[in-house]
């Protein structure tokens, strides 16, 4: 019980700090914090499918970009719709796309799904590049809204909601049990009455629309987008590394990995200003994590307690029994 209260206390303290942050730091650091929240949320959205269901999505940036482009197109001049409407429109478009891609390919081995998602993201890049209404390679501008606090709180709300939903759905409910079951053994999950095709599709759509919300906020925040900046493969690369680094299929892994990697990204940018070098570092990080840290940073903590990723109930029980004495 003690560890649970301690955890809640820490979480509460973190939330208080996050809410008060705009009063504590200047706009420069607030922008960095906004970015960190966005990446923590995006990594979590990738982890829903990649970590909990075991299906690698190599084109997750597609959904981030769809959210961004939907907001950019609808907020810009002829239509000028309000931001909340454009976010919802982005969610609708994204969900429809996710169903169209996911329904046929999620039934097959994971490799086909990985290729399909990757190809989808590249199609969108090419499409947005050659089309006129998307502004071509030059991209689109949005009506500027220069209020750093608004975007900070928008990202904070989106990130908190994302983590709350992940916790409730994947860690605390029957749905999460079904998702993890199909990840570990699909035929056995079917034999337990689980409609694996449907559960996978639901997870995929949820993961996609989450990314689209962050894309919408991002577009409004930076006020200018182009195909590479929102659909680019580097965005997916980052999410993959963040989740692998933090811990696949864990609640807090993506937050840890997301914030850590984003900080590294900013540091490299500040000192070298070289994005090519950062790509190499991303690649090396994936390779090293796969080879030497397959359970990520969160996995280290889990192992130290003497257990793998388990329900909180188990953690409680261990704490009550004095902890760490099983095997």
């Amino acid at each position: 019980m003690k560890s649970r209260w301690l955890g809640l206390l820490l979480l509460g303290a973190l939330l208080v700090v996050l809410v008060l942050l705009p009063l504590l730091v200047n706009n420069y650091w607030l922008r960095i914090a906004t970015g960190a929240l966005m990446w923590a949320g995006l990594a979590c959205s990738w982890n829903m499918l990649g970590g909990y269901a075991g299906y690698i999505n190599f084109g997750h940036s597609a959904f981030f970009g769809l959210g961004a482009y939907a907001t950019a197109l609808l907020m810009a001049d002829p239509l000028g719709l309000p931001f909340t409407v454009t976010v919802l429109a982005g969610i609708a478009v994204t969900a429809a796309c996710a169903v169209v891609i996911g329904a046929p390919t999620l039934r097959l081995r994971g490799a086909y799904f990985a290729i399909a998602t990757w190809a989808f993201a590249e199609v969108l890049i090419q499409f947005a590049t050659v089309m006129d209404f998307t502004g071509g390679i030059g991209g689109l501008s949005l009506p500027p809204f220069l209020n750093e606090r608004f975007f900070y709180f928008a990202m904070l709300a989106a990130a908190v909601l994302t983590y709350l939903a992940t916790w409730a759905l994947f860690e605390r409910s029957r749905f999460g049990l079904k998702v993890k079951a199909l990840r570990d053994h699909e035929p056995a999950a079917e034999a337990m009455g689980i409609n694996t095709a449907l559960v996978k599709l639901q997870t995929f759509v949820l993961s996609a629309i989450t990314a689209s919300v962050f894309g919408a906020i991002f577009a409004y925040w930076v006020t200018f987008i182009n195909p590479r900046s929102v659909f680019g493969g580097d965005i997916t690369d980052q999410m993959v590394v963040m989740v692998l680094l933090g811990g696949l299929g864990t609640l807090w892994g993506p937050a840890i990995g997301g914030v850590a990697l984003f900080v590294v990204n900013r540091l490299i940018w500040m000192y070298w200003g070289d994005t090519a070098f950062y790509i190499a570092i991303l690649g090396a990080a994936i390779v090293l994590v796969v080879l030497f840290l397959p359970n990520g940073i969160a996995g280290l903590f889990a192992r130290r307690r003497g257990g793998a990723t388990v329900l909180d109930k188990t953690v409680e029980k261990l704490a009550r029994a004095g902890g760490g004495d099983r095997n």
């Binding site: 570990d184 079917e190 689980i194 257990g307 388990v310």
Partner: protein, 252 residues
């Protein structure tokens, strides 16, 4: 205990028809006739043993009945409904549970989570209590929070069986669930099977161990080359030494 083992589809009034009827079931893999016109029945509350040499089509039959593999032709009636060609999850939801010959556990989940996942689709109310009861029934309480992949071979078989129990099924197909396990674990499983039968559950059991077949099965079904060659009481089958020789390869 009672809640843990109550079958989902308790027989409708005066149901005396067999729970499972298989007629003329065919499945060919390339040139191999894994099921070549299988006919068999499992009665209500019956424990039927399925024996036969390796490659005679026993496990394929399980896959065909449970929906993992689609039959080429033939009829499978479960509890009065035609389920041939239905997808596995739909068959499972009707109240048919199965185990896999090679334990197919959810490796990265704990023992308790494995049991809960088995109940996630279906009777969720009281699932935690039933999981606790099943753990007690199978003497797995001490490893309740271990990852399934960390279990010993025998414990994995127990958990595989426990998930089928959690389904609250009317018919359970067991594929060599006691093969190669310690006698203590075998005893636990046999007691659980007997207890479940008392509550109205039917069983179809693939088994190689003749001792076990003799002790638990009401009736034996002998398969060879993708079809049922004979069925009857254990004693009658054993007495027919010709059957034993040609189909089981062990003269008595």
């Amino acid at each position: 205990m009672s809640a843990a083992t109550r079958p989902q589809a308790l027989q409708p009034a005066a149901a005396t028809d067999p729970i499972l009827v298989v007629r003329g079931l065919h499945k060919h893999f390339g040139g191999i006739k894994a099921a070549n016109g299988v006919d068999l029945e499992v009665g209500r509350r019956e424990i039927a043993g399925l024996i036969g040499p390796n490659g005679s089509g026993k496990s394929t039959l399980f896959s065909l009945v449970s929906g993992t593999v689609t039959p080429d032709k033939g009829e499978v009636r479960f509890d009065g409904r035609d389920i041939a060609g239905q997808s596995a999850y739909k068959v499972a939801r009707l109240g048919l549970a199965r185990t896999f010959q090679i334990p197919a556990l959810f490796d990265n989940m704990t023992v308790t989570e494995n049991l809960l996942a088995a109940a996630a689709e279906g009777h969720w109310a009281g699932a935690r209590e039933r999981a606790a009861e099943t753990l007690a029934l199978l003497r797995l309480e001490h490893v309740a929070d271990n990852r399934a992949s960390d279990l010993s071979g025998g414990q994995q078989k127990l958990l595989e069986f426990g998930r089928a129990v959690m389904r609250q099924a009317a018919l359970i197909l067991l594929d060599e669930v006691t093969a190669g396990v310690h006698p203590n674990i075998r005893k636990i499983i046999l007691e659980a099977i007997a207890g479940l039968r008392e509550r109205g559950v039917s069983f179809l059991i693939i088994e190689h161990d003749m001792e076990m077949v003799r002790n638990v099965c009401d009736r034996i079904i002998v398969m060879d080359s993708g079809r049922v060659v004979t069925s009857g009481r254990f004693e009658d089958i054993v007495r027919d030494s010709e059957v034993m020789q040609s189909y089981l390869g062990r003269p008595q």
